[in-house]
Symmetry: C2
Subunit: 318 residues, 2 copies
Amino acid sequence: MAVYTQVSAEALGAFLRGFDVGELVSAKGIAEGVENSNYLVETSWSRFILTLYEKRVAASDLPFFMALLDHLAARGNRVPPAIPDREGRIIHELEGRPACLIEFLPGLSVSHPTPVQARAAAAAMGQMHASLVDFTLERPNALGVDDWRPFFDRCGRAIDSIQPGLYDHVDRAVDKLLAAWPRHLPRAAIHADLFPDNVLMLGDQVSGLIDFYFACTDIRAYDLAVMHGAWAFDATGAHYDAAVGSALVEGYAGNFPLLDEERAALPVLAEGAALRFFLTRAWDWLNTPADAMVTRKDPLAYLHRLDFYAEHGATLFA
Amino acid sequence: MAVYTQVSAEALGAFLRGFDVGELVSAKGIAEGVENSNYLVETSWSRFILTLYEKRVAASDLPFFMALLDHLAARGNRVPPAIPDREGRIIHELEGRPACLIEFLPGLSVSHPTPVQARAAAAAMGQMHASLVDFTLERPNALGVDDWRPFFDRCGRAIDSIQPGLYDHVDRAVDKLLAAWPRHLPRAAIHADLFPDNVLMLGDQVSGLIDFYFACTDIRAYDLAVMHGAWAFDATGAHYDAAVGSALVEGYAGNFPLLDEERAALPVLAEGAALRFFLTRAWDWLNTPADAMVTRKDPLAYLHRLDFYAEHGATLFA
């Protein structure tokens, strides 16, 4: 959420001369996205996002992400593909980092989605899944079901410092989810992080899906489960919005068929998604100094979701 | 250099409906400027910078800053004035902070200014000073000559932790400058922080002077002295670029008369400017945890300038 690598005006001007995009007019470092450095770049022709990939995105994963965006954009999805330079290359190096020049999309991320907005966003996910049925590249989910146990063990008993008794509680949840995980469900390329932050909207219309840097190959319906947990609760995780929750499932299913077995598995998939975000938030919470200039996101917000889905999941998605 | 206050899409949309600026299309938090929260906002009509003022800018100073920008813009200087809302107000409140919607200016800050660029930027300062001769509002310089001794005493002996012997060295410099300070020189409203960061350029042309939040009433030629120290050295302060230094004085004097007594005082004014930035950098250095996610700027870069001006100032500006 900061600019980690500074790009001088001189270096940026030289970089852009490799592209057929007009003359550099403005560039502002923007505070957005996962741990990358992003600039909003304006040329005499158009606007772009320049992303320099920091440690959290592996350079070796960029071809997967860029092929995915290109595939989706070619099929009419509103996603920001990378711009090729004059020689057709899309992955570059700038200031010692892998870098891509990416199409700018208008729109804003809503903080409190309405059911109408949730339906539109889930419909965009359905359209995305439909477009990806013939996408053949694969990338393992680095935060998938098989990573939860080792990840939890790395957090260890320190988890109890967040809330007493938390370790044993989550320990049982990990065991339960590993046993119940519906590994037989259809797999596909998924976004895996479609929070409201990552959906640009103009009013009630979706103008862009962004930040595909957790995209991977996993159970397709898990994508909807992640989205459900991200959209249908308030920030504390304590309050579920049933109208938003229903709108998500209906919006998705209107654009892509949700199999009976997928729908039946949504409670456990949603529990898994809640656990996945609980684990990374807990890790960040335990490993970020309280006085650091980054906002620590409360892991308990995802514990509340986990417990909510465990208790109400069966009726929720019926 | 971060976004401290989050503005939701919903709150921003409501805020903009108070202005005659078109529909909200995009907003990106930008990592720029002093310790404010800034958004690059696009509407169906134009682009703007939305600034929310954090602790470092006092709300009571905003009328001075905004009147200054308005005065300068009305006289053809390329500065970003605040946009009035439908009722003519320019200072608002948003998310609990004072906030202004400000004109967006194109251009980029150069990292390694050439003499041609330095001349253009100093000429813009000269034009600005010419436009301010009839600007009558006053604001004391919170980091002016009378603040250096108390500020230095607050840093105290801890200064020696930056470099052994530094306290005594700077202590003598403070004494020398307080005795030598040319208090009789003409005073006016000045920018007081016209670093390359705060000058937007398109090629060799100045497209904007920005970030007036240190603007104040002080010795007019001190403004040029601040600029000289900021532009004519490399980042370490160890290397002086004589061509840039000369271009600054010539560019300025081409647009605003530099009196003989002002020119004669430039060495001591430049020493004072170097001390002023040394002091704030030393303070930040001593009070910022080494592992904080902000870049600490090396105070020694301004010690080098201070020493350089003390040794070479007399011949430098002759």
